[in-house]
């Protein structure tokens, strides 16, 4: 079974600031399913680096504005 990821993200906030972009619209622009966006937002799935960059590109921000990895 997959382990829960320690990576947190600001996707929900970024979607809100992007004209309340829907999960489906973000999924379409990133090229993944809406289920995957939901799983990423909820911290249940860590996307590949490529998908992470594509999400950041949609919001026109850097990767670290979207994803955070807590210090140990």
């Amino acid at each position: 079974m997959a382990k829960p990821t320690p990576i947190t993200n600001e996707i929900r906030t970024l979607r809100f600031h992007a004209g309340e972009m829907t999960q489906a619209e973000l999924a379409r622009q990133v090229g993944v399913t809406r289920q995957t966006i939901i799983a990423i937002e909820q911290g249940k799935y860590s996307p590949s680096l490529e998908v992470a960059f594509r999400i950041a590109r949609v919001f026109k921000v850097g990767l670290d504005a979207v994803f955070q990895y807590p210090a140990e």
């Binding site: 079974m1 997959a2 379409r28 993944v32 399913t33 289920q35 799983a39």
Partner: protein, 143 residues
Amino acid sequence: MGFLEKINLAALGAGILALAWYLFSVVPQIGSVPVAEIAWKWPMGLSLGLFLVMLIATVIPLAMTDQTIRDESGIIDDERDRAIELRGDAWSGNVMHLLAFLALILVFFDAPGFWVAQTLYVGGMGSGLISIAVKVADYRRGA
């Protein structure tokens, strides 16, 4: 629930029913008749047929009517689906390797063909069901 998750649930249900029917047909014979006389070939064929018919009868109507076959993003599957698929198949592969080795040991010790066939069939169906169950669990957990 996405289309692929529904397909996996349908396969899980069909597999459990087919395997249960097979075990229900064969297990009561063990011990009551000599191993060589146990009728297992036609139940095995019928069980496989039953599984395929149930799967097709579920998947075709699902594919024709399900609105989520392409979800609202217009995409059928992605890296997460492939990761879930791989994880499920890895579990199935591990179990099947062990059971294939067990079947080899049975052959090595000249066990009746009945037991070799049961190990391979029940093991094969069982490992397939484990694989699907892992995928369904991963979909449910969002992994």
